[in-house]
């Protein structure tokens, strides 16, 4: 059983996945942030690989990416930073990023290197279903990595089922059609999550986009297996002089 499966086997509700940007706030913050997240009680970590043109991300995550890039973060540097991370970090880690840098690194080499350092899965929002099925999915599978598709309230039932069938690990339910960091009306979100639940999907469902505090985390968890916090945590680290303390404080608040 892989690490992601293990998480959902032990815990089917209120699973907390936290997003952080590699190389942010400082180039060498990556591991520190991951360790602090684990110690604070995050169940999974989504590690963002910065990109110059992150279409699915809102201003906060974009900005963190720009800082990470100006700090000198690259995919090659990230894999160097992650070389021994499994000595200290045991929670599942999912790399999130965009196709262009991954293709430039070499898609297969990327999967091989990710698997070798101990990464568990990938989220590449601009890798389409067709190209996944005809080309990239087999490579991802060959290296034993999970691949997580996104669904939105606009995704048809038929398509949700198709994407669930292709996903492993969990399914990422975008809380509404939007970029990250937008505020939501949670009533509509709950109806949508209930709809997903009724489909009896094969994967656990984690809700992302707009989850920022205890209240939104609880509402999202009510109708799913848990949630993903991104922009709110990135913001909390913006001027952090003590990553460990600020992470603890932020997560304790969400989980209180």
């Amino acid at each position: 059983m892989n690490r992601i499966e293990q998480v959902f086997k032990n815990k089917s509700n209120r699973v907390l996945n936290v997003y952080c940007t590699a190389g942010y706030p400082k180039l060498d913050s990556t591991l520190q942030v991951m360790q602090a997240l684990q110690e604070s009680g995050a169940d999974l970590i989504e590690l963002g690989m910065p990109y110059s043109d992150p279409l699915a991300d809102g201003p906060v995550i974009q900005h963190s990416g720009s800082i990470a890039l100006s700090n000198g973060m690259t995919i090659a540097t990230l894999f160097k930073q992650l070389k021994d991370f499994r000595k200290t970090v045991t929670v599942p880690v999912i790399l999130m990023g965009y196709m262009n840098p991954v293709m430039q690194y070499g898609f297969e080499k990327f999967c091989a290197d990710a698997a070798a350092v101990g990464v568990d899965g990938l989220i590449l929002p601009d890798l389409p279903q067709y190209e996944f099925e005809t080309e990239y999915g087999a490579i991802i599978k060959k290296y034993g990595l999970d691949f997580i598709f996104l669904v939105t309230p606009e995704t048809s039932e038929k398509r949700v089922k198709e994407l669930d069938a292709l996903s492993t690990g969990f399914l990422y339910a975008v809380s509404s059609s939007s970029t990250t960091g937008n505020d939501k009306d949670f009533g509509a979100v709950e109806t949508y999550l209930q709809r997903l639940k009724n489909l009896q999907l094969k994967n656990p469902v984690l809700v992302g986009f707009g989850i920022k505090d205890k209240q939104t985390f609880e509402s999202a968890s009510k109708h799913s297996n848990g949630a993903i916090i991104g922009s709110a945590f990135v913001k909390a680290l913006e001027n952090s002089s003590d990553i460990k303390a600020d992470t603890k404080k932020f997560i304790a608040n969400v989980l209180s």
Binding site: L55, S66, N100, P128, E154, T155, V174
Partner: protein, 396 residues
């Protein structure tokens, strides 16, 4: 369906390039377009309305003008396809009309667009005013500064100009912001992309709307020379829409040489260039796989061109395929060469070209033209918007 140069395959690929590399948040809108665009744009009522607007509102057909003194200079026969004479001053209006009419048939109430030089923004704002539809145009902060007259035009036409402040603050970033707007407004909004870029079906759809350029060229050339086929078609390439339109009905005529001229900026190897095919590698930008100017780490680089409309680090997938397959000849012209070519055209023919189009003119210097050759050059736009830049150069 197998692809040809004039249509991609069912997944939007021209050879290795194309596709729809979009996040799920855009899937429904893009899928809707994919499944409906051909049906809508070839429906009789649509064709009639589109053609009537091109004729009576835009002023088409645009003339095909034999530039005699320019021809003499190059010792050949050069015909200018006068897209600069279109209403709003460039070819961009052909596509803007097509897409706004299409958006209306899709029941969309809100139009968004990106713009570099401002020509596509002005064209879109114009058609939205004509049709009474809300219009929001994203434009890089840097371009807002260097294309001030077009910003004023858009505002006067009732469009909201939204400054794109991220990244290099030019066309690439305006496109990112427009895509984000579309993600955040998934049901009522249509995104009018201004060039043959973006996810499938945009490259094909925009090429088809612009194909009126070469459709007219064929019969106009026949009237003037007795043959529908020139020896060369020359056009500048930013994203590649005027080139796609000028090439379209010649793509499957192998004896016609298709010449695309990119912006070399301060020089291809100066580090300040926008010559995508020479400097780029395969990658994904704005939803399609194409050739992209990027770092070793896959970060998209900030291009440079004196011409805001060519200041883009990618090209449409059709052009990537024309380049890759050898069907198209790709040249590049520097800022200086293009400005000189613009002044040359002014003096010889009394036409002030857009800086973008001036790159196509500068490309002529690199062709070994013969006395019998017949060259069609797409004069994609007029130079009014670039007067400040031209004046700076004249004093220098």
């Amino acid at each position: 369906m197998k692809h040809t140069f004039t249509s991609p395959d069912t997944k939007g690929y021209y050879g290795k390039f194309g596709g729809a590399y979009i996040p799920e948040m855009l899937h429904r809108n893009v899928e809707e377009l994919q499944s409906k665009y051909l049906e809508i744009m070839y429906e009789k009522g649509f064709r009639n309305e589109f053609n009537a607007l091109l004729k009576d509102y835009v002023g088409r057909p645009t003339p095909l003008f034999l530039a005699e003194r320019l021809s003499k200079q190059f010792n050949t026969n050069i015909y200018l396809k006068r897209e600069d004479l279109n209403h709003t001053g460039a070819h961009k209006i052909n596509n803007a009309i097509g897409q706004v009419l299409l958006a209306q048939r899709l029941g969309k109430k809100r139009i968004i667009a990106e713009t570099g030089a401002g020509q596509h923004g002005v064209a879109t704002a114009t058609v939205c005013a004509l049709k009474g539809i809300e219009c929001i145009v994203y434009m890089g902060v840097k371009d807002i500064e260097r294309q001030a007259p077009n910003v004023a035009r858009m505002r006067m036409l009732g469009a909201k100009v939204m400054p794109a402040t991220s990244g290099s603050q030019t066309l690439k970033d305006a496109t990112n912001e427009a895509i984000r707007d579309w993600i955040n407004n998934p049901t009522d909004t249509h995104y009018v992309i201004g060039s043959v870029v973006g996810p499938h079906p945009y490259p094909d759809m925009v090429a088809r709307f612009q194909s009126v350029i070469s459709e007219e060229t064929r019969w106009q050339l026949k009237e003037k020379t007795g043959s529908e086929l020139p020896t060369h078609v020359v056009a500048c390439v930013g994203g590649g829409s005027n080139a796609a339109g000028a090439f379209y009905h010649f793509l499957d005529e192998p004896q016609v040489q298709l010449v695309a001229v990119e912006a070399a900026g301060l020089g291809v190897n100066s580090g300040h260039s926008a010559a995508t095919t020479q400097l780029g590698t395969a990658g994904v930008l704005h939803g399609s796989k194409s050739i992209v100017m990027q770092t070793e780490d896959g970060q998209v680089v900030e291009p440079h061109s004196i011409s805001a409309g060519l200041d883009y680090p990618g090209i449409g997938p059709l052009h990537a395929h024309l380049f890759d397959s050898g069907r198209g000849k790709f040249l590049s012209a520097t800022d200086d060469e293009s400005v000189q070519a613009a002044f040359n055209l002014c003096k010889l023919e009394g036409i002030i070209p857009a800086l973008e189009s001036a790159h196509a003119l500068a490309g002529l210097n690199q062709l070994q033209l013969k006395a019998k050759d017949v060259v069609v050059l797409c004069l994609s736009g007029r130079g009014d918007k670039d007067l400040a830049t031209y004046m700076n150069r004249m004093d220098a």
